[in-house]
């Protein structure tokens, strides 16, 4: 044990934690005042890092001016614009929509950054890079690190003062408590909410400027860094600022000390040899925290009434599928191999999207980590199907991914809503950073994966394989629809509407959730196998966390309650990739999702639902083509809604508030 070395790590951990604390407190401020968990928070920080780099390093602005422009100008402006343009439209929308919209913004920001600052993986100097390090407890601290710690303390004290000692800050807490009462007092909730977004984004910008120099300036890495901030904010139950600071510093220490411990404990270091576990430490931390917190009625779980779409009958789904397959066969004849390949990949992702129709659309659970399961499926295909294209590999993909899903669902039995989404995100990050990149999983060299060969008929050709992917998607959709019509499906949708009511009817919600998670993961696994075969080889990049996010997005945009969204989503992804190649804009799909975010805030149930309404209006039900999505089932009389959350939460005090 080297005390000095440990002390050095502790001090670095505290400095890092301080930067996370700033980011996390911004997250908490916006979440409590608007109920929207801003997944784009890290992206705002990332953009701020780049902008700051552009101004200082590239354009030679003085540091102080750049800091002011980025932290007091750019950040708050972005926050205010997001609030005005998007957040306002999301009142009363479903959790999936609320999550997906800021994810779309995050993805958009990444696309933007990679386009503006293409390939620039520069490094950003910290504040006063030439100053001598400060010595503290026999440990050397750079001036930048000292400034970070001082900033964090200032933000902590400043926020406390602002929220508790100023009228505007108190009004912010009042809006958290009760927006309706606030407006009866003459407070404008919109203005307060906009202010809180401006402050939150300003803090993200500050964090970006402070963290940027501590790491490599790289869009994806900086954006996901904020998963660290999520972890800290979750320690504060997304509500308490002091606990958020504790969490942030704890995380900073965890990340810095665990590698030291592992290194010095023999069996641990040999067990972890060859695993890139360090990048996954924030996810592990988040996972541990999520396992430890008690899930009282969390505000992320505010129930909303979802529209129930008419479920197509078996005949309708079979006829519709036949039509889609026939159409694909015809169209495939006219497409180039490259186009075909992009469509194969798109519909492969569509299958992963279908897994969310079951999980999110029917079951009301949001997962951000479906690509983690898809990767497991690809792994199974590689091992069982291999070069021969044995169709049993698809079965293996399902069979391996499903239990992994059940495993991840175990925390799902405890946490709900937003916390579940964060859990799955942590899982996907872990798979991405640690498992999939391990040599023994996909291998370092390109692994040969043959496309399916069904009863001796090879689908090696690009036309044949596209038809195969679409066929599998159709078959799985028929299966998912059959599930939806079954008793299990009714129980599932019943549970989405009221877990409590279902429990009183003798349904064990935990068993249903477990099964749903497993089935959904299994479907995602099949999707992953199809994606890998489209590329004739599995690679970690295909199943990276960042690939998980657009999946939820495309199905929510298409209407997550309808299987058609898996088709439209797959098609959209394929087309975006084709167009992106034509116009030579990198990450066009990422950019277009920003448009989707704005669109969603105007039509929170997805464009597909709106389209379905139009179709039902024009074509009478009896004459409708079988494969068109149905008319929404007649609304039950909205009675005074008593939700489980209302029952369990005492109506008086909600513990905490923004403290």
């Amino acid at each position: 044990m080297d005390v000095k070395e440990i002390l050095q790590l502790v001090v670095i951990g505290v400095a890092m934690g301080s930067a996370y604390a700033i980011a996390a407190s911004g997250l908490v401020v916006t979440y409590t005042t608007s109920g929207i968990f801003n997944f784009a928070h890290g992206a705002i920080g990332m953009l701020s890092s780049f902008l700051y780099w552009q101004l200082t390093v590239q354009d030679g602005w003085p540091v102080w001016l750049s800091v002011i422009v980025v932290v007091l100008g750019f950040g708050p402006a972005v926050g205010a614009i997001i609030e005005f343009g998007i957040v306002r439209g999301l009142r009363g929308s479903s959790l999936a929509t609320r999550i997906v919209v800021t994810i779309a913004l995050m993805v958009f920001a990444m696309g933007l950054a990679t386009n503006i600052w293409q390939g620039q993986s520069a490094s950003l100097p910290g504040f006063f890079p030439d100053a001598d390090p400060v010595r503290f407890l026999d440990v050397a601290l750079s001036v930048h690190q000292v400034i970070v710690i001082v900033c964090a303390l200032t933000v902590a004290v400043g926020l406390r003062f602002f929220l508790f000692r100023t009228r505007v800050g108190t009004a912010m807490r009042a809006v958290v408590d009760s927006p309706a009462t606030a407006s009866l007092n003459g407070i404008k909730p919109d203005v307060v909410s906009q202010l809180s977004w401006a402050i939150g984004a300003g803090l993200a910008a500050l964090a970006g400027v402070l963290i940027g120099p501590m790491l490599q300036l790289e869009a994806f890495a900086l954006t996901f860094l904020v998963i660290n901030a999520y972890a800290a904010a979750v320690v504060g139950r997304l509500r308490s600022l002091p606990m958020t600071f504790v969490g942030a510093v704890g995380l900073g220490l965890f990340i810095n000390l665990v590698p030291y411990v592992v290194e010095h404990i023999g069996f641990l270091s040999s067990a972890l040899d060859g695993w890139r576990y360090q990048p996954a430490l924030p996810a592990v931390f988040l996972f541990i925290v999520l396992m430890l917190i008690k899930d009282s009625s969390l505000r992320g779980a505010r129930p909303t009434r979802a529209r129930t779409m008419r479920v197509p009958t078996f005949t309708e789904s079979v006829l519709g599928s036949a039509g889609v397959i026939a159409f694909t066969i015809v169209v495939a004849q006219f497409l180039s191999n490259d186009t075909l390949n992009r469509l194969q990949l798109g519909f492969g992702v569509g299958v992963v999207g279908l897994s969310l129709v079951l999980l999110t659309g029917y079951g009301g659970q949001v997962s951000l980590g479906q690509m983690g399961f898809a990767g497991v499926g690809a792994f199974a295909m590689l091992k069982f199907g291999g070069a021969s294209g044995n169709p049993l590999g698809l079965l293996a993909a399902f069979a391996l991914a499903a239990p992994v899903g059940a495993l991840v669902a175990i925390p799902a039995l405890r946490v709900r809503g937003l916390y579940l989404a964060l859990t799955t995100m942590a899982f996907a990050q872990f798979m991405d950073e640690t498992v999939f990149r391990h040599e023994g999983v996909f291998g370092s060299t390109s692994n040969a994966l043959g496309r399916l060969s069904i009863f001796g008929v090879s689908t090696d050709g690009d036309k044949a394989y596209l038809v195969t992917v679409v066929t599998v998607l159709c078959l799985l959709s028929i299966g998912v629809l059959a599930l939806r019509r079954s008793r299990y499906g009714r129980v599932l949708t019943g549970m989405r509407d009221s877990e409590l009511a279902s429990a009183t009817l003798g349904i064990d919600p935990r068993a249903v959730k477990l099964v749903t998670f497993a089935l959904s993961a299994g479907i995602a696994g099949v999707g992953g196998a199809l994606m890998a075969m489209a590329n004739e080889g599995a690679a970690a990049e295909q199943f990276a966390l960042v690939q998980s996010l657009p999946v939820l997005l495309i199905v929510v945009v298409g209407g997550v309650g309808m299987v058609t969204s898996a088709f439209s989503g797959g098609l959209a992804l394929g087309l975006m990739s084709i167009v992106g190649k034509q116009v030579d804009i990198s990450n066009l799909d990422l950019l277009l999702t920003g448009v989707a975010a704005v669109g969603l805030s105007r039509s929170p149930e997805g464009w597909g639902v709106g389209l379905a309404d139009q179709v039902t209006r024009i074509v009478p039900t009896s004459r409708r083509f079988a494969f068109l999505p149905g008319r929404p089932a007649p609304q039950p009389e909205p009675v005074d809604e008593v939700t489980p959350a209302d029952v369990t939460r005492p109506s008086g005090v909600r513990a905490g508030g923004l403290v």
């Binding site: 306002r88 439209g89 009142r91 009363g92 929308s93 009228r167 108190t170 009004a171 807490r173 009042a174 958290v176 408590d177 009760s178 927006p179 309706a180 009462t181 606030a182 407006s183 009866l184 007092n185 003459g186 407070i187 404008k188 909730p189 919109d190 009434r305 529209r307 039509s603 929170p604 149930e605 639902v609 609304q635 009389e637 909205p638 109506s651 008086g652 005090v653 909600r654 905490g656 508030g657 923004l658 403290v659």
Partner: protein, 267 residues
């Protein structure tokens, strides 16, 4: 926004078309004697597709105390939501001092002097008593004056000034809510079931404060289940059933009507 979202009373945003600014300038209380300070004319309102108010008409003249009575689900709270701006009527006119204000935001109405104490304690549970009072100053009254007057009127609140409002007893919370109506000098005070869930003795105390506000010349709308208590301080009363006004008159007559209908329905 989808159709189902309308099922929750949404806080409408303030937009410029509603002449509340003109009203603020003119002063709500300066209304001429023959013009009602508040008038609902054939108001219809709905939660999503469900029509709840089917043409409610009522008038409140300056300095008057008006009571709105009716069975559970008659639409009283909905009517009040229209008055406070929390719901926008689907048809009909909402007039303040003779000016149409349909669609005005609740915060805009609050700032021109329409003070609503909503059903079930309009306080911020996680804010302290002092902070709750501070929030009342958004209506325009200076914060210091609000605090001084409130603590003078309700010594019990002064004792608990740093306590979170949500941890006080129901009666104390209701006092806090009422204090806002008392010390901000509203032109119109709207009270929704301030007696809900409280012991009769507390209700008496609260009503003595309401009577005091009424004597100071504030126009008051009271919604109550405790018909007797409210009628005692009322100038006029309306009875609602199934989303419309079924009777209107002086308190004594209305009490008789109520009694008859209760007897008729087996009470």
């Amino acid at each position: 926004m989808s159709a189902t979202d309308g099922a929750e009373p949404s806080v409408s945003s303030s937009n410029g078309q509603v002449p509340v600014d003109a009203l603020a300038a003119a002063g709500l209380a300066e209304v001429e004697a023959h013009t009602p300070i508040l008038e609902l004319a054939a108001i219809r309102a709905a939660y999503g597709q469900i029509q709840v108010l089917h043409g409610v008409s009522l008038k409140v003249f300056r300095g008057e105390t008006v009571v709105l009575l009716g069975a559970n689900g008659a639409g009283k709270t909905t009517t009040i939501s229209v008055m406070s701006g929390q719901m926008t009527p689907t048809a009909g006119d909402y007039l303040l001092a003779g000016r149409r204000v349909n669609g005005a935001a609740p915060d805009a109405l609050a700032r021109i002097g329409v003070c609503t104490i909503p059903e079930g304690r309009g306080v911020f549970p996680n804010l302290t008593v002092t902070e709750n009072l501070l929030m009342a100053s958004y209506g325009g009254t200076p914060a210091a004056r609000i605090k001084d007057q409130a603590f003078e009127l309700f010594p019990r609140l002064a004792e608990r000034r740093n306590q979170a409002a949500g941890t006080m007893s129901g009666g104390e919370q209701q006092m806090l809510a009422l204090a806002r109506g008392l010390v901000t000098n509203p032109a119109i005070l709207i009270l929704d079931e301030i007696s809900m869930g409280l012991a009769p003795i507390i209700v008496d105390e609260l009503y003595s404060y309401v009577a005091r506000i009424a004597r100071s010349g504030v126009s008051i709308v009271i919604v109550e289940q405790f018909a007797h208590r409210a009628l005692a301080i009322a100038d006029r009363a309306y009875i609602m059933a199934h989303g419309s006004v079924t009777a209107e008159g002086d308190p004594a007559d209305m009490e008789a009507v109520l009694q008859a209908s209760y007897l008729g329905s087996g009470h």
